[in-house]
Amino acid sequence: MIFLADFSVIKPDFGLLFWTTVIFILFWVIIGKFAFRPIMEGLKKRERDIQNSLDEAKRAREEMAKMKAENEELLAKAREERAQILKEAKEAKDRLIAEAKEQAKDEAKKIVANAKEQIENQKMAAIVELKNQVGKLSLEIAEKVIRKQLEGDKQQEAFVEDLVKDLKLN
């Protein structure tokens, strides 16, 4: 095989110049307009969307932090209130108990006093009764004794004498 030793690529051919111009300008116009521009727009839009989402997330985070702080404040206040209420309740309870105790004591005292009085009354009644009974019994005994002793004249005289003696003594 033989070849012309011709470095033809360095010789710009008119046809190739013409067609390259046509094809490159087509490339630039068509792909530029229908592909590169939309891709650029798409990328820009996505960049914007991402930025917006990030901003939104940041805002949401800040809001959350704010809300959390508020919540904590509320919680602290509530806790304080609860403590206050509890304290008051305890005081009230203590007071009530103390009052109740006092009352109970008074009541008890009164009851005891009543009981004592009644006991005294009963005792007095019992004593009176006992006295009456004793008196009656004494009389009966005395009657029986006297009857026995005064069966003869001599004994009657002695007894009268005794009585008289006793009287004198009194």
Binding site: I2, D13, I23, I25
Partner: protein, 417 residues
């Protein structure tokens, strides 16, 4: 660090290019010596030439009017204009090309030599479709404007006819210039550019739709594959250099980056023709010229002032500075053009030359042992080279884009003193 690696890569690329060219220079000297005896036997049997890796590489990196993928040859539409005979439009299938892209037929005085359409200038050559004779072509060095130029010759009716190369826009600087016809065909490179254009359009419009469809959702699939690359160019290239004006120029920078990257990578795919599109000066020239216009069209007062009448320097310095700055206007896009071209061309050539070593050391199959031995080494070297080329594909697309961004940034920068 990246700067350092880049410099190293650039240096090695240029070294390889110059190696390739030197090498080729030697080869063509040898050929010139044998040429005299060779073309005497033209139109008859042709002798066997030694394998020439340089010329093979030049053939493989050049643009073609036919698309070869392995054993398949896809004919492409030819759109040709010559001031003499007007427009001719036909399929390159009419040439009945062989595996090397040499046609066995001529059509309206156009012939296919090494995959390129060339035109027979002679008036006595018939119009219409005619069969060529003998070997499809031979080459002869002729003098044109005092410079030696290698021209293909075809045989018809027992005589030889010289065939003109297509016109090129180098103004004779690299051995081209305006010839008898212009080739506006849909060549292999044009087909590749269209393929990359449709591939990229499909890819990016799919991704753009995904942004609409999956609004407010995480990226998925192909979208998440493209997004980091897109964002890299947007955030690391457009925004730092262009400031608040980044949105206006990002589509242009993206177009540059993905057009170049797509073409670089497409040329790297093995067994798909290996189109060397961004390694063709015409392509990089168009990109550089468009960049030049975009930069200077948006240049503000501040920018032009700094070019033509640099503020704050003595008048005699201005007389030096103004021409330098003015030249810089054109040198900047020119470096863009050459850098991309040289890197990609060098990459393609190195790969072809490594493969060519197999045929060189094996003497085109005569020494089977040497062929096999070299094949192993060459395969490893080629694989290594291709992985570097993959890196270069990204780096060059990135460098072109970031430099363009910096030029636009400098042109649109607000005054601040």
């Amino acid at each position: 660090m990246r700067q350092y690696v880049l410099t190293l890569l650039l240096a090695s690329m240029f070294a390889l290019v110059s190696f390739g060219q030197e090498h080729n220079g030697e080869q063509s000297h040898d050929e010139n010596a044998t040429e005299e005896t060779h073309h005497e036997e033209a139109c008859g049997e042709h002798g066997k030439e030694p394998f020439n890796p340089g010329a093979t590489a030049f053939h493989h990196i050049s643009d073609q009017n036919i698309y070869n993928i392995g054993p398949f040859h896809f004919p492409l539409p030819c759109i040709l204009y010559s001031p003499e005979q007007g427009w001719s439009v036909f399929s390159s299938g009419v040439f009945h090309a062989d595996a090397h892209g040499n046609g066995h037929y001529a059509m309206d005085r156009y012939v296919l030599v090494e995959g390129r359409v060339r035109r027979v200038v002679a008036d006595d050559f018939p119009m219409g479709k005619v069969e060529l004779e003998g070997h499809p072509f031979f080459k002869k060095v002729e003098q044109k404007d005092g410079k030696p130029i290698e021209l293909a010759h075809v045989c018809y009716g027992g005589s030889q006819y010289a065939a003109d190369n297509p016109s090129t826009a180098d103004g004779g600087l690299f051995g081209g210039g305006v010839t008898s016809f212009y080739d506006f065909s849909i060549t292999k490179n044009v087909v590749t550019m269209f393929l990359v254009f449709f591939l990229m359009a499909w890819l990016f419009i799919t991704v753009a739709n995904a942004y609409k469809k999956r609004d407010g959702m995480a990226p998925k699939g192909i979208q998440s594959f493209i997004e980091p690359i897109f964002l890299f160019i947007q955030d690391e290239v457009a925004k730092p250099f262009l400031g608040h004006k980044w949105e206006r120029f990002t589509p242009f920078l993206m177009s540059l980056f993905f057009f170049i990257l797509g073409l670089n990578l497409f040329g790297q795919i093995p067994f798909l023709g290996g189109s060397n599109v961004t390694g063709n000066l015409a392509v990089t020239m168009v990109l550089a010229i468009i960049t030049f216009f975009v930069v200077n069209f948006h240049g503000n007062k501040h920018y032009w002032e700094h070019i033509f009448w640099m503020p704050g320097v003595p008048a005699w310095v201005k007389t030096i500075l103004t021409p330098v700055e003015f030249l810089g206007l054109f040198i900047k896009p020119m470096t863009l053009m050459l850098r991309l071209f040289a890197n990609i061309t060098a990459g393609h050539m190195v790969v072809i030359i490594f493969v060519g070593l197999i045929f060189l050391f094996g003497k085109s199959g005569e020494l089977a042992g040497a062929s096999y031995g070299t094949a192993v080494g060459s395969t490893l070297l080629t694989m290594f080279m291709m992985s570097i080329e993959l890196l270069v594909a990204f780096i060059q697309a990135f460098v072109f884009t970031i430099l363009t961004a910096s030029y636009i940034g400098a042109a649109t920068e607000e005054a601040h003193h």
